[in-house]
């Protein structure tokens, strides 16, 4: 599953030559993580409390 989390490590205000300096975590990625964490906090409140039972009980008949 690795691979789809590719992120740009260069910001607009950086000089092209700055690429040589390794950046431990890209700021854009950090900002994205913070945004996702905020979303997850919201979702925790509404997610089925017994996920296993909910998933097991989600049984459908086939359609078209």
């Amino acid at each position: 599953m690795a691979g789809q989390e590719r992120v740009h490590t260069r910001r607009d205000d950086e000089e092209p030559g700055d690429d040589a300096t390794p950046t431990p975590v890209a700021p854009a990625a950090q900002a994205r993580d913070a945004e996702v964490d905020a979303l997850l906090d919201e979702i925790d409140d509404v997610l089925e409390s017994n996920a296993e039972q909910f998933v097991r009980g989600f049984v459908q008949k086939g359609g078209q």
Binding site: M1, G3, Q4, E5, R6, V7, H8, R32, D33, E35, V36, D37, A38, L39, L40, E42, I43, V46, L47, E48, A51, E52, F54, V55, R56, G57, F58, V59, Q60, K61, G62, G63, Q64
Partner: protein, 535 residues
């Protein structure tokens, strides 16, 4: 040239009775239809579906499947056997005995021109015919509101079971149910050419049309995440079936329109999408590719822009469908019949370039929606190639994956953890207070294309620029005097008339507001309308 063409979306919703996994889904589905406001008003519930012009066993390749040889779930044109899983009025004999209405074949024709009914074991909303992808989004979202209204009514009725509905396509245990796109296509295009030129498009478009799915394999037998809900259920390249051996290109040739001029392309490989941009681009890009194919035929030959498309034939399209869906990096190369290997993004880029090149050749100015679809398509292909995460506001699988990866990182979950499967399912719960997609909307994390007011209007009113206008307005104005209706007919039962009167609508672009708006406004009752139509 334009993205405009007659199109529509049918959606079978997943259905549950909370806490009762063994509840009968056909019964639950019929409750969903029966509690709809239109069905509760006795008069409109009277309107049956008019099956006279239905022919689900007619194959676009030019033959008919023998009814006796058909799998029973394909028999959708006979109400006594519910599938188990511009001219003047015509006079019709009044039935001698009242026709038997099977309560399991619940069916409502809505004032917005849509059909709400039970298909197999799911409630289905078939949108009215629209002429452009943005309207397709509006009337598709209206369908969610129609379904949600039934959920609310059932929840508040102590005598009836509670029901929750999901706009998805898989249960994770092997069952799948469909979201079908329909496009009106020029009959002059030979079906074989149409199929051949569409297959690489359908295989590769998953990169921006997929709704995302937790689990790999039809029964989710392997842990993981994939782009598409439907990919693992595609088992054939071309075929008539929709309930088994599902094909990439479905050959049902039931145009619901003049068959000499039109065919209806019935696309069964798409995912139900909550994200408006995903729905918009799924229909918009398909419409453009169909234009390209129609144009080549009209101009007498492939040549030019289409040459590149004809070289995209895949060695194994069914396997390629899975490969694309299972590759979150979007870098897997698919083997082509000519020995080349291309990624799904490169195949999509070839279609985009071909459409752009053909447009430049024609040279007409583009309407706003066509330009918008082209620009968004190009932008997504550019960004998916370098930074897929940046597309999470527009592409559903990426919006879903973003939440799932966040949860995996925060809580250290493996892909087989049930909380991740629960996120996938609850994603499309139609209730805004429970559906995870709706939490993203509330947080401003997805892009919207239509306003809540536009969706509310579309729940009640039909599109103005197709025959859905006549159908919807007729139901709204003369519902008590309509005995049946279908995509291409409305049957009136006027008290005192000697016969029923059937108004055929073989042209989807007639019966519009411009065409019959004044006539309807001047007709206080059906008898006046019919006299004017017959005049």
């Amino acid at each position: 040239m334009t993205v405009r063409r007659v199109m529509g979306i049918e959606t079978e919703y997943g259905i549950l009775q909370p806490g009762r996994p063994m509840a009968n889904p056909m019964l639950l589905s019929s409750h969903v239809v029966a509690v709809h406001a239109a069905a509760r008003e006795g008069a409109r519930a009277k309107a049956r579906w008019d099956y006279d012009d239905e022919d689900p066993l007619h194959d676009a390749r030019g033959f008919r499947l023998q009814r006796a040889a058909a799998h029973p779930s394909l028999l959708t044109d006979d109400p006594d056997r519910p599938a188990p899983s511009g001219d003047g009025p015509q006079e019709l004999e009044r039935p001698a005995v009242e026709e038997y209405e099977d309560p399991g074949a619940a069916n409502v024709i809505l004032t917005n021109g849509a059909r709400l009914y039970v298909d197999h074991a799911h409630p289905e909303y078939s949108s009215p015919e629209v002429t452009n992808p943005l309207d397709a989004v509006r009337w598709d979202r209206a369908g969610e509101q129609v379904m949600l209204a039934s959920v609310r009514t059932l929840m508040s009725s102590p005598a009836l079971p509670d029901v929750t509905l999901y706009k998805n396509n898989v249960d994770g245990k092997g069952a799948t149910y469909g979201t079908h796109e329909n496009y009106l296509v020029d009959r002059a295009v030979p079906f074989g050419d149409l199929a051949a030129r569409l297959i690489p498009f359908f295989v590769s478009r998953q990169v921006f049309t997929g709704a995302g799915r937790v689990g790999l394999g039809q029964r989710g037998e392997h842990a993981g995440f994939q782009l598409s809900q439907r990919a693992d259920y595609v088992e054939a390249e071309i075929g008539l079936e929709t309930t088994l051996r599902r094909p990439l290109v479905n050959t049902r040739d039931e145009p619901h329109a003049d068959p000499a001029r039109w065919r209806r392309l019935h696309v069964i490989v798409g995912d139900a999408t909550m994200l408006e941009v995903a729905t918009y681009l799924r229909l918009g890009t398909a419409s453009l590719v169909l234009w390209l194919i129609e144009r080549a035929v009209a101009e007498g030959g492939a040549g030019g822009a289409l040459g590149a498309i004809d070289r995209l034939t895949l060695r194994d399209p069914v396997q390629a469908t899975r490969l694309v869906s299972h590759d979150l990096t979007l870098t897997t190369r698919l083997e082509l019949a000519d020995g080349r290997y291309l990624t799904a993004l490169e195949i999509q880029r070839t279609y985009l370039d071909a459409v752009r090149s053909a447009l430049a050749h024609v040279g007409d100015p583009l309407d706003d929606q066509t330009s918008d679809v082209l620009d968004r398509w190009e932008s997504l292909l550019d960004r998916l190639a370098v930074d897929p995460a940046s597309c999470a506001r527009e592409v559903e699988w990426l919006a879903k994956l973003r939440l799932l990866e966040g949860m995996r990182r925060r809580d250290h979950l493996a892909w087989d953890h049930p909380r991740l499967a629960a996120v996938d399912l609850q994603w499309s719960d139609l209730r805004p207070e429970r559906g995870l997609y709706h939490r993203l909307v509330a947080a401003g994390a997805v892009e919207l294309l239509v306003t809540p007011q536009e969706v509310d209007d579309a729940v009640v009113h039909p599109p103005q620029d197709t025959r859905a206008y006549f159908r919807g307005e007729a139901v709204a104005r003369y519902g008590a005097e309509i005995s049946a209706a279908s995509w291409d007919s409305v049957v009136f039962d006027v008290p005192g008339a000697a016969t029923l009167q059937r108004v055929p609508m073989r042209d989807p672009l007639r019966g519009t507001h411009a065409h019959v708006g004044a006539l309807l406004a001047a007709s206080p009752d059906a008898a006046t309308l019919l006299a004017a139509l017959g005049g």
